[in-house]
């Protein structure tokens, strides 16, 4: 019904001079409308300028609308209840008062329509104003409901408007990240949050069903941004900030219960995670999962399917899934039989190069801190890490060497990896099987950490020094690797550059430099020349 009305308005207004309309003093118009009902028809001018091309006009019209309808809502000059069709009502026999109200209600609905459309406007300022305006209407409607209150479940909360806003926010074509971050302010309000969550659940289910589970990157990104911007309260007592203030807090209002919130939150996420996700979102999601999702779910164990699936994926996603899994194992008693085997197989050369290296080693350190691990497992991890260290950059090495030493300290029986004096005399081939997937079969305990001995010749002095430690028995005290985890190569460089050196002792090359390409074994001169011969 509303679209037809709008078209109606459009057709009527196009005949008028656009420029003149733009210049209209909207404030004055609003004042006039509010003053007396005689000028009620001026409202079309406002609505018309709301659809103008110019951004400034639109924004001022938005402000005007906002003021106008908020006041009308307050004055209860909008029709309440089931709205009859406009033509009917106007022709019907009802009091002039009611007719006017019905007329205004229709204009109001048209305005909301336009505002929702504006949520997909190109200009951010318009979007923002429209959003604010809509939320103001929602608040006004909450205070002075336009529907009959037979739905005791939601009480006076304007669900419809919120649902529409959410649907428009999660656009399928445009990236609404900025707008969503603006919307976050409204999500602070507990009832809004609750209804947004339920609205999201519905809309996601609908949209994804329609698309049969195929990827919708923009839509999913919008949904994810909106969902991740929801910050849940942790206690019932924190639920105090409501948009719709009810005098007599009804006991049965769902939005007032933390449990309901949690349930809605959980349903929303589970509904979202049911469908296939783009891999970068997968990573983003896993990064925040343990921190901002799992604690607010009523039954975190429901996430297990998702997490195990993610753990099976391999690569960086597996690394990230570890964190969530750890929370489940640690706090929710999850039993994961092949956890360590999987973890062992996660150790690939890329581990040292990925962005999530710090997180991975932090977790790996946690997982391997148990003193109840079997010896073969610790030995396998140690040996594998040592082998991988042969391809690691210096920052990785500065983590992994103390890591290995800590493992050996925790499990003193692993010392044979560093010290096996009985068979000292005959040289042996490394019995360790790098390709073996099962840590129990890889024969790590029979091996020695020759890799670390190799690293004693590493070019970076700190690494070489760290590797030197294997030649003496390790000290009892474990090393703290937490501050090494975030170290970048540049920071490592800066350490050397900023080091206050005593100025006298900068050694110089004594072989006189004569040519640019000479020197250092003439490798460069062998392959390169200063200028091409041609």
């Amino acid at each position: 019904m509303a679209p037809s009305k709008k078209r109606n308005v459009n057709s009527r207004n196009t005949s008028e001079n656009v420029s003149k309309a733009a210049k209209l003093d909207l404030e004055g118009v609003v004042d006039r409308i509010l003053e007396s009902r005689k000028h009620a028809n001026d409202i079309f001018d406002v609505l018309e300028s709301l659809q103008s091309e110019k951004e400034r006009d639109v924004v001022s019209a938005l402000d005007a609308c906002c003021r106008l309808f908020s006041t009308l809502l307050e004055r209860k000059e909008l029709f309440v209840g089931k709205l009859p069709a406009e033509d009917e009502a106007l022709s019907g026999e009802s009091s002039a008062e009611d007719k006017c109200r019905i007329f205004m209600r229709h204009r109001y609905n048209a305005c909301v329509e336009i505002l929702l459309e504006h949520l997909n406007h190109e200009q951010f300022a318009v979007k923002e104003s429209a959003l604010c305006c809509l939320m103001k209407f929602a608040a006004g409607q909450g205070q002075h409901p336009l529907e009959d209150l037979e739905w005791s479940e939601h009480h006076s909360f304007p669900r419809g408007i919120i649902l529409a806003v959410v649907e428009n926010l999660t656009s399928k074509t445009t990236d609404n990240t900025l707008l969503i971050s603006r919307f976050q302010e409204f999500l602070e309000m507990d009832d809004v949050r609750y209804y947004v969550m339920s609205a999201l659940r519905e809309s996601v289910g609908k949209v994804m069903e329609k698309n049969k589970g195929t990827l919708l990157p923009v839509y999913q990104n919008n949904v994810f941004t909106l969902m991740s911007s929801i910050s849940m309260p942790s206690q019932q007592s924190e639920l105090t900030n409501f948009m719709v203030k009810l005098e007599d807090k009804p006991e049965d209002w769902r939005a007032a219960k933390l449990n309901n919130h949690k349930r809605a939150f959980e349903k929303m996420w589970l509904g979202f995670l049911k469908y296939k996700l783009p891999s970068n979102m997968y990573k983003k999601l896993l990064v925040i999962l343990h921190d901002s999702i799992l604690p607010h779910m009523s039954k975190p164990a429901l996430m297990i399917d998702f997490l195990t699936a993610a753990y099976e994926v391999g690569g960086a996603i597996s690394l990230l899934a570890l964190n969530g899994l750890f929370v489940l194992i640690h706090q929710h008693n999850l039993d994961y039989p092949d956890f360590y085997k999987k973890l062992y197989n996660l150790l690939e050369p890329t581990v040292f190069h990925v962005k999530y290296r710090a997180r991975f080693f932090h977790l790996a350190n946690l997982f391997l801190s148990s003193s109840h691990l079997p010896l073969y497992l610790v030995a396998a991890f140690t040996k594998r890490l040592a082998r991988l260290a042969l391809t690691a950059p210096p920052t990785g090495l500065l983590i992994v060497l103390p890591f290995i030493y800590n493992l050996i300290r925790r499990h003193p029986s692993c010392r044979v990896l560093l010290h096996k004096p009985s068979t000292e005399d005959e040289p042996v081939e490394d019995p360790y099987l790098m390709d073996e997937e099962d840590p129990a079969q890889c024969r790590a305990l029979e091996s020695s950490l020759w890799e670390i001995k190799t690293l004693q010749k590493h070019y970076h002095p700190d690494v070489a020094k760290a590797a030197m430690m294997i030649s003496t028995p390790l000290s009892e005290q474990e090393e703290d690797i937490s501050e090494l985890l975030e170290l970048t190569t540049y920071e490592l460089m800066e350490r050397d550059l900023k080091k206050p050196q005593d100025k006298k002792s900068i050694p110089l090359e004594f072989e006189t430099a004569t040519q640019l390409l000479k020197g250092g074994g003439d490798v460069l001169a062998h392959h390169f020349c200063l200028v091409s011969d041609e």
Partner: protein, 779 residues
């Protein structure tokens, strides 16, 4: 002489004659100092004493010293016997006499018989020849008189001192003269003689005066002439006037000055001998060996303290640079030409104050001339010439670095200019290593910082531009890359590592830049043979780019390479046949930025070149890391890649040699190793319960704990002991003296008694005789 002293001396004699052992064994001589308790290990000197012996020793000593002094007391003169060996007790009396005689003979011999050829001995009496004494002509020796002023003539002397009764001048003439005078001038009276004498002397005086005046005139004339010449030579007239005044004694001054000058004149120092080329070469070799040893030590990571040696070397080399003739010796002179002679003469380059200055200075010159300009600037602003020059040259280094970066970034990189500027850069670096290190550090930090920013934003970064690559190479040329930790080269290596791990290869240019970085990395570690995992990863990745079939790999590639995907076939040849026309030639450095490859064939050729570089680097790495225990594991990916995916059949024949070498190196590496064991550490010694041994300086009570206090205490104690000893000695001395005095008195009394007795006796005998005579008379 009394009896007592005789007796004592007798006793002493007896003691002396007795053997030492006999005395010690004699229980009457020995006194044993009884100890209250034995202390183990303490050696005491004084457990057994020989009081008799020591007492007699003391008495003897006193007799020789104190007694003698006592006897000499109150005596004004004393007799000192100066004869040879009089107080020397060591020489036997016979020897003494012999020596004295020999000495006497020698003395006489020297005096008289110096020219005596026939060594006849003259007999003497009281030192005078008996033969001469027999002649009895006692001549008066007038040697003393001739010591008077040389002005006096012999005659004058004779006349002055000749007078006097009996022995006058006229009589004193030698016999020959006397004869003549006797013959001719007998008639001349004494008066006449004196007048003649006076006349003679006056004449002499006049002559002398004339001579003196003449000399004076001559010198004055000479001086005048000298002045006229001097005025020509020295413009300053004032100085000449000034010299007039002290003209009175110029000769003396000049002479003195001359003497002094000669005295102070530098004596010719013995210079180092000229070295033969072999020696020089040897010296050079030794120096290099020392530096090499230094480098090795730093490589092992041992800290070093002094760099004095290299500093001095730098200084000398800088001096050599400076002393080499500034302008005329270098080839820039003919370039500018004779017309600019005056210009050249003051061709003095000011050190640039800003980078713009330097650019203006070097702009528009050929690379060779740019080098010359920089060299000249460096010489003209040598630190030894002015105070601020060192700072200027340090700045110049920074500007040059910047300039080199700019040269490398130009659309057609002017790398020959960079090449030419390199020696100057090296010299500047040697001159002020700290500033140079700081400048290079700054450049590296900037490059790394910009890369880091990009990595933070995007997760990866583009390959370093050519200027960064040149800087890296410069770093390797200016600073030792083999040090365990070096403030410049360690960050540079980290930068290479960062670039090799974070820069994805997306084009052939990237691949070239990456390989250039690999070359640099190999050069950096070529001496120290340090392990650089990123290098192997990158080389493996680069080879992976050439693998056509990416399924079922037997190896993993590390980032920035990916197993498959966009740009992972970058080095796969588009046409396998294109290798036929390929020939390896060195790549230009500019290939890291822009490549002009028009056709597929060109691209394929470039790919093949890259591949050959890559394989060569792998080969070098194989040789470098041959000794590492994990060699086989490090090169396992490369090995499986080369054997399965780039096997020798599929590869270009020109590269087959390299391929074979690599495979040989990988397969021949030892796979077995000794098991790891901890270093054998020294066994901790058992705790021994030996007492702490404190140095005992003096036995006795020890008070005070600090060293000074103990020392003070010890000295006090010693002083007390010495004081007591001295008192005792003095007491003994006075006792001895008293005894001596008593002896003297007793001796005197005894003598008197004896004399009185004698007198009484003689009187008694007289009396007796007289009585007897009387008796006889009575009879």
């Amino acid at each position: 002489m009394g009896k007592a002293p005789k007796k004592r001396s007798l006793a002493d004699k007896v003691r002396k004659t007795k053997t030492n052992a006999a005395i010690k064994n004699n229980p009457f001589e020995v006194k044993i100092n009884r100890k209250k308790f034995d202390v183990l290990g303490r050696k005491t000197k004084h457990d057994v004493g020989l009081p008799g012996v020591s007492r007699s020793k003391a008495i003897n000593k006193r007799k020789e010293t104190l007694l003698k002094e006592y006897k000499q007391k109150n005596k004004a003169s004393k007799f000192v016997d100066r004869r040879l060996g009089e107080y020397d007790a060591k020489i036997a009396p016979e020897d003494k006499i012999l020596q004295r005689f020999a000495l006497e003979r020698q003395r006489i011999h020297e005096k008289k018989d110096m020219y005596n050829l026939n060594e006849e001995e003259e007999l003497t009496h009281y030192g005078q020849s008996l033969a001469e004494m027999e002649k009895f002509n006692d001549m008066v020796n007038s040697d003393d008189e001739s010591e008077e002023k040389g002005l006096l003539s012999a005659e004058l002397t004779a006349s002055h001192f000749g007078g006097g009764g009996g022995g006058g001048l006229l009589r004193k003439k030698t016999s020959g003269e006397q004869q003549q005078e006797d013959g001719n001038q007998r008639a001349k009276s004494r008066q006449e003689l004196i007048e003649e004498l006076i006349q003679k002397s006056k004449q002499e005086k006049r002559e002398r005066q004339v001579r003196k005046e003449e000399a004076q005139e001559l010198t004055e004339k000479l001086d005048q002439e000298w002045k006229s010449i001097q005025a020509l030579m020295v413009k300053k007239t004032a100085k000449a006037e000034h010299t007039d005044k002290p003209e009175e004694k110029p000769k003396l001054d000049e002479y003195d000055m001359m003497v002094r000058e000669l005295g102070f004149e530098m004596k010719a120092q013995p210079s180092e001998k000229m070295k033969t080329p072999e020696e020089l070469a040897k010296e050079e070799k030794e120096k290099l060996q020392k530096l090499e040893a230094d480098r090795l030590r730093r490589m092992m990571g041992e800290e070093e303290e002094t760099k004095a040696q290299s500093q001095t070397r730098i200084k000398t080399s800088a001096w050599n640079l400076f002393l080499s003739p500034l302008i005329f010796s270098d080839p820039f002179f003919p370039l500018v030409g004779f017309l600019f002679y005056n210009f050249i003469k003051f061709f003095f380059f000011l050190a640039p104050e800003s980078y713009e200055d330097l650019k203006d200075l070097l702009c528009g010159h050929t690379p060779e001339n740019q080098r010359l300009i920089v060299a000249r600037t460096q010489k003209c602003n040598h630190p030894s010439l002015a105070v601020g020059n060192k700072l200027k040259l340090q700045k110049l280094f920074g500007f040059l670095l910047e300039y080199i970066g700019e040269l490398a970034l130009r659309t057609s990189p002017e790398l020959t200019a960079v090449d030419k500027l390199l020696p100057e850069l090296y010299a500047l670096c040697q001159m002020s290593p700290e500033a140079a290190a700081a400048a290079v550090q700054l450049v590296l930090a900037d490059a790394a910082h910009s890369m880091e920013e990009q990595i933070e934003v995007k997760g990866h970064a583009p390959f370093p531009t050519l200027d960064s690559l040149i800087y890296l190479k410069l770093t390797a040329l200016l600073f030792p890359t083999s040090d365990f930790r070096h403030p410049v080269t360690t960050p540079a290596l980290l930068y290479i590592s960062l670039a090799l791990t974070k820069c994805p290869v997306r084009s052939l240019q990237d691949a070239t830049a990456g390989l250039l970085l690999c070359c640099l990395a190999v050069e950096y570690v070529s001496f120290s043979k340090r392990f650089l995992p990123e290098l192997i990863n990158f080389l493996t990745g680069s080879l992976h780019l050439a693998v056509r079939d990416k399924t079922s790999l037997g190896y993993t590639v590390a980032p920035p390479f990916r197993r498959a995907g966009k740009c992972s076939d970058l080095l796969v040849l588009s046409d396998p046949e294109s290798c036929r026309s390929w020939r390896k030639k060195p790549l230009p450095l500019s290939a890291t930025r822009c490549l002009e490859l028009k056709s597929d064939l060109d691209r394929d050729h470039h790919r093949l070149t890259c591949l050959s570089v890559c394989l060569d680097l792998v080969k070098r790495c194989c040789l470098l890391y041959n000794d590492l225990p994990s060699f086989s594991h490090i090169f396992q990916p490369v090995g499986s890649l080369l054997s399965k995916h780039l096997s020798i059949q599929t590869i270009v024949c020109l590269l087959q040699e390299l391929h074979r070498e690599i495979m040989d190196a990988i397969s021949s590496a030892p796979t077995t190793h000794r098991r790891l064991v901890f270093n054998k550490k020294k066994p901790i010694p058992l705790k021994l319960l030996t007492p702490k041994i404190v140095e005992v300086l003096d036995y006795g009570k020890k008070r005070g704990c600090t060293r000074e206090e103990r020392e003070k205490e010890r000295l006090k104690h010693k002083y007390k002991k010495e004081f007591k000893g001295a008192l005792r000695e003095i007491r003994k001395d006075s006792r001895f003296l008293a005894r001596e005095k008593l002896n003297e008195v007793m001796n005197r009394d005894a003598e008197r008694k004896r004399k009185v007795k004698e007198l009484f006796g003689s009187l008694a005998t007289q009396e007796g005789e007289w009585k007897a005579l009387k008796k006889r008379k009575r009879k």
